[in-house]
């Protein structure tokens, strides 16, 4: 599931990643933009997703991602999702973001391939169907 929190309108990256992941064979829920961290967490729980991808190009990633982490924890789903963030994120913020509980940080310039690989490594492959 991928989404934008807050009011930031830069959604080019979000769309590219959504399509890239879909083309790589994943089921993508495009939750959209202008969402609160609580709304994202509730959707993650309801849809029982494996990955929560957040895109932030507003510079508010530190504040907003710690709220996303907390919202996921409050609903008890933090442990079972892979939480990633992408956007304009200075190098100095990468470590602190990981410390707050973000599993993957993908700054501007990351390839779709890198993200697909990260998701595949972090999410167990689904059981084969009947």
């Amino acid at each position: 599931m991928i989404a934008k929190v807050g009011l930031d309108g830069h959604d080019r990256g979000l769309k590219i990643i959504a399509r890239g992941l879909r083309d790589a064979g994943m089921e993508v829920i495009y939750l959209g933009m202008r969402l609160t961290p609580d709304a994202v967490a509730a959707a993650a729980q309801e849809e029982d997703v494996d990955v929560v991808g957040i895109s932030i190009l507003s510079g508010a990633h530190m504040r907003l991602m710690s709220r996303v982490v907390k919202a996921l924890e409050d609903l008890g789903v933090k442990e079972r999702v892979l939480l990633v963030v992408g956007g304009t994120i200075p190098d100095a913020d990468v470590g602190p973001l990981q410390e707050t509980g973000v599993d993957g940080v993908f700054p501007v310039g990351t390839t779709i391939g890198d993200i697909v690989e990260f998701v595949r490594a972090g999410v167990p492959a689904p059981e084969p169907g009947p």
Partner: protein
């Protein structure tokens, strides 16, 4: 009449064919070309050599003409930069009004000649700083403005009658411009002395900037309210900055940017004509705003095609009489999306080439994006480099010494035609959607997600082109630097958000709430009866109503817009 006589072109064709056989083929057999085909970024195939054959059909008088006269292909003004250099207008905005006011003064002290204001996302989307969704974004990517008191502080000690000021604000434009006119009034600056621009481009919000506040049709009504009010009362103000820049940042190519932007301009023009306004009164106060990418000749071609197409549209479709109405003027911003995180100093070079293309294309004003913007909003150092880039182009390269220096280039003329032809095809398609009306066509193209889908497709293909290394981006997918380059990025003061919230609380405490309520009721009534809302909105701004309160009333009456999520 063509530029060359038929016999001359025939001889050249024969010579070229001979040259291809005797010279070109053996040379390429020895040293093959690096690519099977060469294309511009928007996919126009580029030949190895252009000759008079490629411009044989070109009619100089009708297709190029002279600068400063229709069709303006060669330039908006007769002597261009020989008389007046382009306006160096670096956009700025962060934190509270006080902080941005300091940056404005810094820029004016370092060679800037106009001001341009970036607003934060809460302001752009019409929410107050204390709204639930604003948390963390107050003052982040632009200045936070909630009330007229913020606008007053933003322009403290700046002579409003001497510095042209641009406001990058769209759906809430009516509120911000209302605040600004109120401030001018309080300083006894007559509105006729104000020179500036309000972006007020409602339609591109749905596929470009994505900071919409209202649905397409009502937002277009507000755009028209501003055109109508300013035509009457603020005669030297540019009422809309019809923008392709954001569309480009969202992933469109040069052709799409040109087509959708002109289509927006046509929709506003048709809305204003329907309102009963005279084309020759309002069209001279419309301006344009484009991005500039790396493919230099394609960008120059785009700017030249833009002027020619707009002139013809305004003249033939809207039957304008004054050449002034047909003259396209535009601002250019080099594209943030071309900036690379690796080896960020290389972005100075990118910015310089993009700026050069904008100047060769005849821009009226220019912003060069900061070399550090792949990390954060630009530092002061980055803005100094951007301004210096403009100064070097203006004073050292000599490119500004003559008008339209690339005019007549077989390649550039041929590319100008190709860009125009492809852009026209998009416009025709949108016109078809509207059954002959660009106003209805654009509403339909926006509401159906057509434009967004076109842009998203191009953005995705471009990204894939980078990943497949079809587009080489130095430092990103080739020539990777061994070590990351340390960079001092803008240090955002997180206490700014708290300061803004305190200001907002103080305004709410000290104003007359009864007066605000009454003003908001007037807006509601005006919206329900479809009046021009400028005067009631300005009255509310003067009573210290917040931007969010005014936009809240409009959202109540007009409803909200939900992004369709097209990808």
């Amino acid at each position: 009449m063509g530029l060359f006589d038929k016999e001359g072109v025939r001889r050249i064709r024969g010579g070229r064919e001979e040259w291809e056989k005797t010279e070109l083929k053996p040379a390429v057999d020895r040293t093959p070309e690096t690519h099977e085909t060469f294309t511009t970024l928007s996919g126009i195939e580029v030949g190895g050599l252009y000759t008079p054959e490629d411009v044989e059909h070109l009619d100089y008088e009708a297709g190029l003409g002279f600068p400063g006269a229709p069709p303006f292909t060669r330039g908006a003004y007769p002597s261009m930069y020989r008389s007046r250099p382009w306006t160096r207008r670096q956009i700025a905005g962060f934190g509270t009004a006080r902080s941005t006011n300091q940056r404005f003064r810094f820029l004016l002290d370092h060679g800037q000649t106009g001001l341009s204001t970036d607003f934060d996302h809460p302001t752009l989307t019409g929410y107050d700083s204390d709204h639930e969704l604003a948390d963390g974004e107050v003052g982040r990517l632009g200045v936070a403005v909630d009330t007229i008191r913020d606008v007053d502080e933003l322009f403290e000690a700046i002579p409003l009658d001497r510095v042209g000021i641009s406001f990058t604000i769209n759906h809430p434009a009516i509120v911000l411009l209302g605040m600004f006119l109120g401030v001018a009034e309080s300083r006894n600056v007559p509105w006729s002395a104000l020179r500036g621009t309000v972006q007020n481009d409602s339609l591109k919000e749905f596929h470009g900037q994505k900071t919409f506040a209202l649905p397409p049709a009502p937002s277009l009504k507000l755009t028209t309210d501003i055109i109508e009010f300013c035509t009457e009362h603020v005669p030297n103000w540019y009422t809309v900055s019809i923008s392709g820049y954001h569309t480009r940042e969202a992933g469109a190519d040069a052709v799409q940017e040109l087509a959708f932007t002109l289509a927006q301009g046509m929709a506003y023009t048709e809305a204003a004509i329907e309102r009963g306004l005279d084309i020759d009164r309002f069209a001279p106060r419309l301006s344009y705003f484009f991005g500039c990418h790396n493919n230099l000749f394609e960008e120059v071609a785009k700017f030249r095609a833009a002027r020619r197409m707009w002139a013809r549209i305004v003249k033939t479709r809207y039957e304008a009489k004054r050449p002034e109405s047909m003259r396209m003027r535009f601002h250019t911003q080099t594209l943030g999306s071309t900036l690379v995180r690796e080896d960020p100093k290389n972005n100075i070079t990118r910015g310089a080439f993009q700026a050069l293309a904008a100047v060769l294309g005849g821009t009226q004003s220019l912003h060069v994006s900061g070399y550090d913007e792949a990390y954060d909003i630009p530092s002061e150092d980055a803005m100094k480099v951007s301004l210096a880039t403009q100064l070097v182009i203006a004073h050292e390269t000599g490119v500004a010494n003559t008008v339209d220096p690339l005019g007549g280039s077989y390649y550039v003329e041929s590319l100008t035609d190709a860009v125009e032809e492809r852009a026209q095809a998009y416009i025709d398609r949108i016109e078809e959607m509207g059954g002959g009306s660009m106003y209805r066509g654009m509403l339909s193209a926006v509401e159906s997600g057509y434009i967004e889908r076109e842009i998203a497709g191009t953005a995705f293909e471009y990204q894939q082109g980078i990943e497949r290394k079809e587009h080489v981006v130095v430092g990103l997918n080739e020539y990777r630097p061994e070590t990351a380059q340390p960079l001092e990025v803008f240090d955002f003061d997180t206490a700014e958000e708290g300061r803004q919230l305190e200001r907002l609380t103080e305004v709410r405490r000290s104003r007359s709430n009864a007066e605000v309520e009454k003003a908001l009721d007037d807006i509601r009534r005006g919206a329900e009866t479809d009046e021009n809302l400028f005067t009631p909105v300005m009255a509310a701004a003067g009573a210290c109503a917040t931007e969010g309160e005014v936009m809240g009333v409009l959202r109540e009456v007009y409803g909200e817009h939900t992004d369709p999520g097209v990808f």
